[in-house]
Amino acid sequence: MKQQLILLREENDLLNCLIGQSYNQRTKFEAEKILTEIHSKAQDRSIGKMALCYVIDKNQVLGVGGSTLLKDKKGKITSNLILDNFGLWLAKIFSTLTTSNQSFTGVNTSGANSPIHSRALTSNVFNITSGGAVGIRLIVGSGSTPPARTDFFVQTKFVIAPENALFASGFPVYNSGLGNFKNLGSIIAGGAGTINESALVDRMRTQASGIADLSLFRDIISPAVPFIAGQSIALEYTIQL
């Protein structure tokens, strides 16, 4: 189902106050605080995932944008949307106690259906690495269409490497005090562009012993963040439980 949502991009303009500051833990903390405050306006919240994207040059923040609030036709404001892939997958992990295989059909980043075992008697479970690496990677793009749960990748990829492809994130560590964990990755831009969107993508092993990249989150980044070749692009997803 395509949801008709309006992007509330200007709400995030407060993030511009961080431009020109050094990129460090304090600035990252401030950016998160600002975005959390903005998203507290939402009447409907998601699991609590939030993206922040920075463009950095010589350790100075040149641009910073975060997940955009959305408004539906009835005026209800939502913080952001998780994608169907994530919901289908998590619901199957949360299924009842049995000894039977469980599977779901995700949509991969090419738009094709990918049947995946959430649990199984065989080794073809989503998190088995015998057929190659699995796990989370990130991507940025320039598309600015509001997210829909049925989205399966960024809308518009960049043309030049490495910003045109998935890039690795660090190892997330669960923080018990804050109840969250973060996936942070960065690249050095090869070309120029303007970041309007981001996605978090999980590579899973498929039922047929192959691999599939499934987008779990897609966010519209506001304010948009321009970059040129040689600048660092850092993208951090916070998953708040």
């Binding site: 919240r45 106690l97 295989n101 008697l121 479970v125 690495t129 989370i136 190892f171 018990s176």
Partner: protein
């Protein structure tokens, strides 16, 4: 780290308006809406909510839901807490793109730690072949505010079947429009008591190819729900994404 929370139990008293009504889709919908409205005042949301009903001959005798909590130090109101076990496992599953094992340590229901493979070359946590894998619930009478370090129900009932796992009859189905899934389990009480708490339990494979149970969510149920032998106890969890 033990967090110091005060339970805001009286906030849920509006649920008492459903006592005496028939237990059906309409009353369940109303209970959901009432609880959602109450939890809107939270400064921090979590992803799960529980609603517990006691039913006799189709009539609601009692209904309670997840209690809001207030942080003693900051005054911040939180909707409820997801336990460390879930955060640690989930952060492990959402680990960076990798071909090597990602092993996490959880606290079993018995209180002792055990390791699981969140990602691995073989026998990861959702793999079958060594016993049933999946999820169930339990209710209890303990009324201490939840802490992220909780690993079991605080006070189990003395009489079967309410003294142990409640197994949902069907798997949760992700609702893309609402962005959530629900799971419900019900039993006929063997004794009498008052329900003050509920937990969500996952049973998964450990790194030694045995299965263990882990509490993922613990909720204080308000108002407390009294039951006697022969009455139906129904517990529904909603996971909102």
């Amino acid at each position: 780290m033990k967090q110091q929370y005060v339970l805001l139990r009286k906030e849920n008293d509006l649920l008492n308006s459903l006592i005496g009504q028939s237990f059906n889709q309409r009353t369940k919908f109303e209970a959901d809406n009432i609880l959602k409205e109450i939890h809107k005042q939270a400064d921090q949301y979590s992803m799960e909510k529980a609603i517990c009903y006691v039913i006799d001959k189709g009539e609601i005798k009692g209904v309670g839901g997840s209690s809001l909590m207030q942080n003693k130090k900051t005054g911040e109101i939180v909707s409820d807490l997801v336990l460390n076990n879930f955060g640690i496992l989930f952060a492990g599953v959402m680990s960076r793109f990798r071909a090597v094992d990602k092993i996490v340590s959880l606290i079993q229901k018995t209180g002792s730690p055990i390791t699981l493979k969140a990602i691995g070359t073989a026998t990861t946590f959702p793999q079958l072949g060594f016993g049933g894998i999946g999820n169930s619930f339990q209710v209890g009478s303990g009324s201490t505010a939840p802490a992220r370090t909780d690993f079991d129900i605080e006070t189990a009932f003395g009489t079967a079947p309410e003294n142990t796992n409640m197994f949902p009859a069907s798997d949760p189905v992700f609702n893309s429009g609402l962005g959530n899934f629900k799971m419900v389990a019900s039993i006929t009480a063997g004794g009498a008591g008052t329900i003050n708490e509920s937990i969500w339990i996952g049973r998964f494979l450990n790194t030694s190819n045995g299965t263990n149970e882990y509490a993922f969510f613990r909720d204080i149920i308000s108002p407390a729900v009294a039951f006697i032998a022969g009455q139906t106890i129904a517990l529904e969890y909603t996971v909102q994404l």
